[in-house]
Symmetry: C2
Subunit: 491 residues, 2 copies
């Protein structure tokens, strides 16, 4: 069936009415050469390219060929090995940008460039905790982004425990003043990652709330789901006018140990040494590369990931894999012929520490016509659901996409709401968005920990991602319909 | 069937010929009171006790009651929470001994005491590693026991990689001199833990071998099977006359990262900071408690575990759980009536750093008559096999034990070889030994890492262990046969 489609594209199940031949393709010397070659003698991939050159991308064939993809792995392996951790605004992130420019250029993408911006940089220092009494022992923790610092020799104070952020909110300041606040909670793994929003409040708002009530410091149970001694860091920002206090996350084994100790009912004293620093503004940047389309008026298809990582892991699932996935898919579409729409790959900088890359892009380019925006930033496990938002005119293309994704085991989710992290503000502005939702069941086992390393990436599931993204681009970059939402952010 | 046995013990499937009534029991007021009470009104446990008092321990009933045990968990939870890490020879191990004496006394055991001994103490210092070139990034490692130290500001040298200890052995000194040796290897998880012996050579002998060849330092792939950034420490001892060098283990993700970097083919330079110290001789000790038996001439049944732990985890599976298991089983036998043989519980000190507790016990008490020795020190997962060694006279008892363990899913293994760690030298001397082998499939995921914490203990599997040990003690402490081997160590 697939081979028949390649040779007789008009009979393809995945063909659609009104698909326009691309005049630009006729001018492509490579494609012209392909037509002069006996198709049967060509590798499959070149055949798919020839099919596209005849004005008919074979979505199913491109999708299935992508199930053998190695490029996403190569990018993930290369970035995590040859750069490793790459905290936003540091020299390591600069090395990552250089690596990205070199790699994207070597892959043959057009308009490869860095769009720089400045952002404030916070760096981790020493971090130690111990129970002083009644049961002396060390605890493992990691400072949260923008944590305040203790003196070099630390602070010692009594611990007051709360089972949730809501309990901390409800507590009188007198219960907290001068103490080390501890917030535990019951986040469990979910496929769609929906626990991260509500339980993440302890990290995002806990430090400000504790500071407002006069706490000496705050330690939270990591916003994570694994039982390893690898705490989950993550950004938090003290609210306007709130004094920064030391703020850190305990690993789950340590958090439960502290809970057990508190339950013994004796006063618990903790010593805390945290010496992070704000080092001022530094340069970060977005790395951009393109597959030029034949119809500039059709708007760009933006496919995104982020290049920076937290400082303790090598950022394999967060988010080297995302960069591998979107880039491998774009490369496949480029090799299959010139798409109608320009595909713009953006490896955002400084996502982890406050979406600085996404916001910079939105400020500079949010006014350009974007047909579709999409981002891969939820690990490397398989895509299981597709959400979308866009105008009614995009519906036929969405329907074709849903059909093309079904053989990969992907179900349709929302048709009115899709988002992402760096692209989140633009999605909230109303831009047409596709969200290829990855299985997040084990994502929060590794997220923002030293454990985010290459071995957590399953090559087979990574390939399924590339297949899904390839199908998405094959449909959306070529779709004859108007995909762009009339609502666009002002810049 | 079981109830019938209780009321008519002579018909029990588990009864055996020649079983002697215990005259001592007649003097036990509690037992006498029990006989005057309507058995049907008593809780099951008291009934089992009454059965034993009538000279007939119901092995199956005791075993099955132990499947509801909570004591092993309480001991494991208590020791890991209220003491936490307890490195041999430190103040923490002293607190652990105090905790043990208090707990064993409260449980009603007899002759609770500490037998102290001195041993040399090595303590961890700072430990950091980073690739300096070609791809700068930190690596996570942990010093091995008795590691030498670098200067405070570290050393930087080129890395030379070997895939196995044998490859290091085969290498000329010229390939190693002045370099940081790296040994990777392919240890995989096994149910019986049999990979630990051969692959552990890299840790036990690698440092001496590297030092002999003039290496500046050695880092090995952790002797472990998990992909978390928690390196596996463990003891090694430099051979006589060999200069101590810095020696550490990389976590598996870090070891594979280093392998990938080395495979790029450029010279790899590593900076290493390791500042452990030898602090001289300190006191450790074995904690001993007993269930006195009625027949001193029958020899003691020794059930053992170790109290010390490595310094980074809380020693839950290694070996608080072992202490919980053997103690809970002994308590159940004590509650069921006075056994023929004295059951001696030993929580050994200073096992991790060189079996000092076991060797001290052997020197002091190895000349006493031991009917059977057994040790629980391989985690908290279920017992799946029973190995034994002993004289022909013990065979009927072994056969009854095998039959009693079968309903727990336990198979018979060797009948000529059984061992343990602290009891290993005495087993090698030829003492009669029972080895209740635990499933080690995931043991080396946590062994000797910060990840050895309470959450790794599965309460249901822990209870199965207690049931197996209870059955073992019910058979062996009461067995009428001669169990002791004529071979005994000299002391």
């Amino acid at each position: 069936m697939r081979a028949a489609n390649v040779h007789s594209p008009d009979t393809s199940e995945n063909a659609w009415d009104g698909f326009r031949p691309f005049r630009a393709l006729a001018r492509d010397a490579g494609m012209t050469r392909l037509r002069r070659t006996a198709l049967a003698a060509l590798p499959f991939f070149a055949i798919a390219g020839a099919a596209a050159a005849q004005g008919q991308p074979d979505v199913a064939a491109l999708r299935d060929a992508a199930l053998k993809d190695d490029l996403a792995w190569d990018i993930t392996e290369g970035l995590t090995t040859e750069v490793g951790p790459r905290l936003a605004g540091t020299e390591a992130e600069k090395r990552a940008r250089d690596w990205a420019v070199k790699r994207l250029t070597a892959l043959g993408f057009a308009n490869v460039r860095v769009e720089p911006f400045d952002m404030p940089v916070w760096v981790r220092g020493e971090e130690k905790a111990e129970i002083v009494s009644p049961f002396p022992q060390p605890l493992v923790l990691a400072a949260l982004g923008n944590s305040g610092a203790t003196p070099a020799n630390g602070i010692t104070a009594e611990v007051v425990g709360f089972e949730s952020f809501a309990d901390l909110q409800a507590a009188p300041a007198s219960a907290v003043k001068g103490k080390i606040v501890f917030v535990s909670h019951a986040m469990k793994a979910t496929q769609d990652g929906s626990g991260y929003g509500p339980f993440g409040t302890a990290r995002r708002q806990g430090p400000s709330e504790a500071s407002r009530k006069g706490a000496a410091a705050i330690v939270i149970r990591s916003i994570g789901t694994d039982y390893h001694r690898n705490p989950h860091t993550g950004v938090q920002t003290f609210a306007e006018g709130v004094k920064p206090i030391p703020a850190a996350a305990l690993s789950l084994p340590d958090a439960e140990q502290l809970q057990r100790i508190l339950k013994r009912g004796q006063p618990v004293r903790m010593k805390l040494v945290l010496t992070p620093r704000n080092i001022g503004k530094r340069q970060s940047g977005n790395v951009i590369a393109e597959v030029p389309g034949s119809d500039p008026a059709a708007g760009v298809v933006l496919v995104a990931c982020h290049l920076d990582s937290w400082d303790q892991g090598t950022g394999a699932i967060d988010d080297a894999a995302g960069c591998g996935i979107v880039t491998a898919a774009a490369k496949r579409i480029a090799e299959a012929g010139v798409p109608r729409r320009t595909i713009r790959i953006v490896w955002f900088g400084a996502e982890e520490v406050g979406l600085f890359g996404g916001l910079d892009y939105r400020a500079k380019r949010g006014g350009e016509k974007h047909a579709i925006i999409a981002e891969s930033d939820f690990g490397a496990d398989r895509v299981w659901k597709v959400n979308s938002q866009g105008p009614a005119t995009a519906k036929p293309a969405i329907d074709r996409l849903v059909a093309a994704l079904s053989p990969l085991g992907i179900v349709q989710g929302s048709t009115t709401r899709a988002s992402g992290s760096d692209i989140g503000p633009m999605a909230a502005d109303g831009m047409s968005t596709i969200e290829l939702s990855q299985d997040g069941t084990r994502y929060f086992d590794y997220h923002h920990t030293p454990d985010d390393t290459l071995d957590k990436v399953d090559p087979e599931q990574l390939r399924q991602n590339v297949a899904a993204w390839t199908a998405m681009l094959a449909v959306m970059a070529h779709a004859p319909e108007e995909l762009a939402s009339p609502v666009r952010p002002r810049n």
